[in-house]
């Protein structure tokens, strides 16, 4: 089957049953490979953003499904390119916020009585705690559970910019696929791990992932053997702590994400 055919089958399966598994994700990823020269670290994020804007929306999905496989492939590549090139910062902020809002809606059991927090972002980006409080406040204001888009739009308008970068579609009868959530979680876990490592420790981890020896790395970087092993013990401790109780699949996804981010 051609790439276009595989992609069409994947979108059709999602449209029909709401299923978008690993194979479907790979079909989409293959279709957009090389488009817009995306940094590998950001690819999953952009695929997620593309999914949110073009495949989650019922009307846009139906439009794509009506195309022939080759035409569909061209259209998807073109739209993905637009997602990558479009209003950079605002799109990235929208995407980052949406991920937090999605998590908040998954965890919230009811509205919040505490009102909107004064800010939802700190020096390191969006605060998941503050976003959760704010989503709870949106829930209280609407008097019902908001949809992901309603909550994200409200928070974006209130805290980030007056309007969303490119208003997403308003219809969505399907859930955001768990395979994408897992990819984004792996990215986030990898990012969290890297935040805990010093620059030297990051370089050592990269060398380890590339199969270099610790002694060789120490010699090449002018670090004493004892210091290198001390750093390695810290890196290992962090990996042990982070990977504990995670499935093999998640561990591999995180290692993959680490490779991309280092």
């Amino acid at each position: 089957m051609s790439d276009g055919g595989r992609l069409q089958a994947a979108i059709a399966a999602f449209d029909r049953d709401g299923v978008f598994g690993e194979d479907e994700y790979l079909a989409l990823k293959r279709a957009v490979a090389g488009v817009g020269r995306v940094d590998p670290q950001l690819l999953d994020g952009f695929v997620g953003l593309f999914f949110e804007r073009h495949l989650l929306d019922d009307a846009r999905r139906a439009e794509l499904l009506a195309m022939a496989p080759d035409e569909l492939l061209r259209a998807v590549r073109h739209r993905f390119k637009q997602v990558v090139a479009g209003d950079g910062d605002a799109h990235q902020a929208w995407h980052a916020l949406s991920a937090h809002v999605r998590d908040a809606l998954r965890a919230l059991t009811g509205p919040s009585r505490a009102g909107f927090p004064t800010a939802i972002a700190g020096p390191n980006g969006f605060s998941s705690v503050a976003v959760e409080e704010a989503v709870g406040a949106v829930w209280a204001e609407l008097g019902r559970r908001p949809t992901m888009q309603e909550a994200a739009q409200e928070l974006f308008a209130r805290y980030v910019r007056g309007s969303t970068p490119d208003p997403p579609g308003t219809t969505g009868s399907r859930e955001f696929p768990s395979v994408l959530v897992a990819r984004l979680d792996a990215q986030r876990l990898a990012r969290g791990m890297l935040e805990l490592l010093s620059d030297d420790e990051k370089r050592l981890l990269r060398a380890q992932l590339d199969g270099e020896s610790v002694d060789g790395w120490a010699q090449l970087n002018g670090v004493s053997r004892a210091t290198a092993y001390r750093m390695l013990s810290r890196v290992k401790a962090l990996c042990r702590l982070s990977f504990d109780d995670r499935t093999r699949h998640t561990q591999l996804a995180v290692l993959d994400a680490l490779r991309g981010q280092l």
């Binding site: 908040a104 505490a114 020096p123 705690v129 976003v131 959760e132 709870g136 969290g192 401790a237």
Partner: protein, 411 residues
């Protein structure tokens, strides 16, 4: 001041555990209260050279940051303590007097810490500035050698300072000061001492203290807790507490701009019954005492707020187990130290799994890494590392861990 309270119910094997995290914060945009501070600087022989130079530079930061409506004073102490600059207004004349006094410091012999603190207290009680909370900052690198030197005497002094409404802060330099003494004088006023490994770290630590002291926006902050349907409720942080009939009153102390303070309360729910917690917060802001009912919100364990509540609980257990392990190691009880280290690592594992926002995982990871090296190979400067762990415990216990960005911004 804004308050939040998030509760998590955790079903254990045979009981329902309840954790309530109360946070008191002041927005970073709020105006800061004017400061009234007596600065106590150790000039004993061990401070000679780089430590004293770094201490003088750090003290100069205070003078530089002071506004004309702030009051500062300077006590210098070796075997004898003297109030070198009385607590006075930091107008041009006051700043000049402080700078001149800092320039000419000579080291002496002995450390009259008790006498210095008593003198510092007298200095603060000599001048009344309406609406100003008197504060004291002690900077020392050694153990007391002149005058009272027992822990009891300092515990009593800590309580005396707290009764006099003086907020005490302390900075311990290197590895010869007595951490328990600094804890005894700071803890009753709801503060923790800071540890610095050497003179090079003094500037950064002082930056953090400046953020707290010069960002001071609310004082006398307390939270009153009345549980319903709970078998008992315990304040897990180390803040001073009191029982008032059917309520637990926790004294948080001061809250600075952008540096929220938290109290974790844990209890066990009565079998299958409904439970609730009535919370009242109060604090003095711009000389007004404000009371407020704080509504708590029950959050899911896997929500961002739920993970933070559980993360704070693990963090408190981590620092206790870590300090205990260091003390076992100092007593050469390796087996016990290993057990306590594993306990601490278990809590760190839980924290990493929860990934709670704002818990300084990297710092815990580093300290436990040092502890493992010390337990397994006997490596590391143990007296210094014990003090580092004790300071981390003290800070965590009063939720006074300053984020690194704040250190750097305020430096």
């Amino acid at each position: 001041m804004h308050w939040t309270a998030w509760a998590v119910e955790h079903r254990g094997a045979d009981a329902r555990e309840v954790h309530v995290l109360v946070t008191a914060g002041v927005s970073a945009d709020e105006p800061r209260a004017p400061v009234m501070l007596n600065l106590l600087v150790d000039r004993s022989g061990s401070m000679k050279g780089a430590p004293l130079a770094a201490a003088v530079e750090a003290a100069a930061q205070f003078v530089e940051l002071a506004r004309p409506d702030d009051f500062l004073g300077l006590v210098l102490f070796d075997g004898v303590a003297e109030q070198r600059v009385p607590v006075s207004l930091m107008d041009a004349k006051g700043k000049r007097a402080m700078s001149d006094a800092l320039k000419g410091i000579q080291t002496g012999r002995g450390t009259a810490l008790h006498q210095a603190i008593t003198l510092g207290l007298k200095g603060l009680q000599r001048t009344l500035v309406p609406g100003r909370r008197p504060q004291m900052l002690v900077l020392t690198d050694g153990e007391p050698s002149v005058g009272p030197d027992g822990l009891d005497a300092f515990q009593e002094l800590g309580l005396q300072l707290s009764k006099a409404n003086v907020s005490v802060h302390a900075l311990g330099l290197a590895k010869h000061y007595v951490a328990e003494i600094l804890d005894a004088i700071t803890q009753p006023s709801g503060n923790a001492f800071e540890h610095v490994d050497g003179p090079e770290g003094l500037g950064e630590a002082m930056g953090g203290l400046c953020a707290r002291l010069f960002g001071h926006a609310a004082s006398e902050v307390t939270v009153r807790v009345q549980p319903q349907g709970l078998a008992a409720i315990t304040c897990r942080h180390g803040f001073p507490t009191a029982l008032e009939q059917d309520a637990l009153v926790v004294t948080i102390g001061d809250v600075s701009k952008g540096l929220a303070r938290r109290v974790l309360l844990s209890g066990t729910a009565l079998a299958d019954g409904e439970w609730s917690v009535l919370l009242h917060g109060s604090g003095r802001e711009r000389n007004d005492l404000r009371h407020q009912r704080v509504e708590f919100e029950l959050v899911a364990e896997d929500s961002a707020r739920g993970r933070l509540v559980l993360g704070v609980s693990h963090e408190l257990d981590l620092v206790s187990a870590e300090t205990a392990a260091w003390l076992s190691l100092a007593r050469k009880d390796l087996e016990r130290a290993e057990e306590q280290l594993e306990d601490a690592e278990g809590h760190l594992r839980a924290i990493v799994g929860l990934a709670p926002e704002g818990v300084p995982v990297r710092r815990h990871l580093e300290r436990l890494g040092d502890l493992r090296m010390a337990v397994e190979r006997g490596e590391g400067d143990i007296p210094l590392l014990i003090r580092r762990a004790q300071s981390a415990r003290a800070g965590t216990n009063v939720s006074q861990v300053i984020p690194l960005q704040v250190y750097r911004q305020r430096k």
